[in-house]
């Protein structure tokens, strides 16, 4: 894996930055995003695909492309999580300073 990452570091960095950007945006983005059901389906699919990759079922170049895709996706997701967390902390700090009015959480019904 170390060899794989070092060979593709530029592309993985790209995916990570893309993720950071997406995570940064996602905290303040309006709207619901994917439904819970769709998220579950996607998660299930992802697990299956990871299973295929780990089991080394797909041979040759397609197998490599699958590995590459999954590692880039992992980098993207890490980027998203880090980006979202950073944005969330920034928002929380600004809220505490009173510069931004608190926004009701759409997931929780307002009393």
């Amino acid at each position: 894996m170390a060899a794989f990452v070092s060979f593709h570091w530029g592309w993985l960095l790209g995916a990570l930055l893309l993720g950071l950007a997406m995570g940064w945006i996602s905290v303040v983005q309006h709207g619901e995003g994917l439904s819970k059901k769709a998220a579950r389906v996607i998660a299930g699919l992802l697990v299956a695909v990871i299973g295929v990759a780990v089991g080394r079922v797909v041979p040759g170049r397609p197998g490599y492309w699958l590995d590459l895709g999954l590692v880039m996706l992992a980098a993207y997701l890490v980027g998203c999580a880090v980006g979202a967390a950073l944005r969330d902390r920034l928002v929380a700090r600004q809220m505490a300073a009173g510069r931004i009015p608190p926004r009701p959480d759409p997931a929780e019904p307002t009393p």
Binding site: F4, G14, S26, K36, I42, R56
Partner: protein, 464 residues
């Protein structure tokens, strides 16, 4: 944490550029990655001894084909490939080099090249043998068609190196090593080559044997040509050693009184047994011919040419094959020189004097037995006598001044008679000859030097 789940449901739009990025990465990286893995795999196999190694990389999967020289080597090579960083799967197409039984190695030499074929155990040994063949054969093309096989006998390389040295001694032929048995056939390049090969094979490593050695040597040839026009006797070919060389040249000088001896003989081993004795006798027969050639090839004597007269031709034919050592054969192709024109008595006398001026009739020391070396000279005298058939000839013997006068007288008479007997045996009528002896009473030179004495020991022919 709950926030993370909530936010993650909004991350999907980024998957679209991610997919584009993925496509670009796959498009630009596949070939460089494969090349890098192939290089790394080759580098990892650098110390493994393999044949027919082939590495194909598809994505991160390596298809590895090779012939290994042992099961250990095969497994070690496989481990090396599996250990290359970045390799995902190894498709193992390795196998062991086939085992040869019997284990055969062959070198075939023809006029232009040496072909090595059969089996060799390892690349290093194959290269070493090829180098050795090139060095030993100096300039001859070496074609190596050997293939790798397991199961070589112990010390295979040492045995083959020795055999390559023997191939260098061949003109053409084949050397085969089958397990530990050596078979040789063909023709040695030089005289003595066969013996050198036999000697070389004694150094084969322990356990190796010579199953068959059918190496033939080129014929051991000795030639002598008598050319009466140029007045030369040319000796060519081989003699066993310098001693025999000197003896044969000395014998030729005694037997051929009127010819200059041209000597191009070379010393070489490989002479058949009895060579010197047979050649000396055959030279005596050649000396009796007007013109002729003597060839001794191995154990076959061939004498061809023209005798001076019928009687001499018959004697030469009969005597050449007589009492030869065992295994020898003789062939005489003798014709008779056309008879010379008849001349009168005075011309005959001059001819006798000329011939006896060139050479002396030799006798055994202190005896009346004519030396075999004088046969050629006596044939010339007989031929002259035939040219004046009506003339009576007196044969007079002389001795030097040494010894008792009465004994010298008797010896001179007996020697004159021996010469007359020889001529009668050659076919001349006995009544033409009268013999007498003068002892030491008519010297033609001083008796106080060896040279003078030799001149005084003589036979004179007087035509009446």
């Amino acid at each position: 944490m709950r926030g993370l789940f909530r936010w993650s449901r909004k991350w999907w739009p980024g998957l679209i550029p991610l997919a584009v990025l993925w496509g670009l990465a796959a498009w630009s990286n596949t070939v460089p990655l494969e090349r890098s893995l192939a290089e790394a795999t080759s580098a990892a196999l650098k110390n493994d001894v393999l044949d027919k190694t082939r590495i194909e990389v598809a994505g991160r999967d390596v298809t590895f084909s090779a012939d290994a020289f042992s099961e250990e080597g095969r497994r070690s090579a496989l481990t090396s490939v599996e250990g290359v960083p970045g390799v995902r799967l190894v498709n193992d197409r390795t196998r062991l080099v086939p085992e040869a039984k019997p284990y055969v190695w062959t070198a075939t030499r023809d006029v232009v090249r040496v072909t090595l074929s059969g089996s060799t155990p390892l690349p290093a040994i194959k290269a070493r043998l090829q180098e050795a063949a090139k060095a030993a054969l100096g300039g001859v093309e070496v074609v190596d068609q050997t293939a790798f096989a397991r199961g070589a006998p112990a010390r295979f390389d040492a045995a083959v190196l020795l055999l390559i040295d023997q191939v260098a001694r061949l003109k053409e032929g084949k050397v085969t090593l089958s397990d530990k048995a050596v078979t040789l056939s063909g023709m040695a390049r030089e005289l003595g080559g066969r013996e050198a090969i036999w000697a070389g094979l004694r150094n084969l490593p322990e356990g190796y044997t010579v199953a068959a050695n059918d190496i033939a040597a080129p014929p051991y040839v000795f030639q002598a040509n008598k050319d009466p026009v140029g007045g030369t006797l040319t000796l060519s070919g081989y003699v066993p050693d310098n001693k025999v060389h000197a003896e044969l040249v000395a014998a030729a000088q005694r037997k051929f009184f009127g010819e200059t001896v041209t000597d191009t003989l070379k010393a070489s081993i490989g002479a058949p047994k009895g060579f010197a004795e047979v050649v000396t006798r055959a030279l005596g027969a050649l000396s009796r011919l007007s013109t002729g050639a003597l060839t001794v090839a191995d154990r076959e004597v061939t004498l061809s040419g023209d005798a001076l007269f019928d009687g001499a031709a018959n004697q030469i034919r009969q005597s050449l094959g007589k009492n030869l050592p065992e295994g020898w054969k003789a062939k005489a192709e003798i014709s008779v020189k056309p008879a010379a024109s008849q001349v009168d008595a005075s011309v005959c006398q001059r001819l006798f004097s000329d011939v006896l001026g060139q050479g002396r009739i030799r006798f055994e020391s202190g005896q009346a037995t004519i030396s075999a070396d004088s046969a050629g000279l006596l044939d010339r005298l007989a031929e002259i006598a035939l040219r004046c058939p009506t003339a009576a000839i007196e044969i007079v013997g002389h001795t030097d001044g040494d010894g008792d006068a009465a004994a010298n007288q008797a010896l001179s008479e007996a020697r004159a008679k021996a010469v007359a007997d020889y001529l009668v045996r050659a076919g001349l009528p006995a009544d033409r000859f009268k013999t007498s002896g003068q002892g030491s009473s008519v010297p033609i030179a001083e008796n106080d030097t060896e040279e003078g004495k030799a001149k005084n020991r003589r036979i004179d022919f007087l035509v009446r």
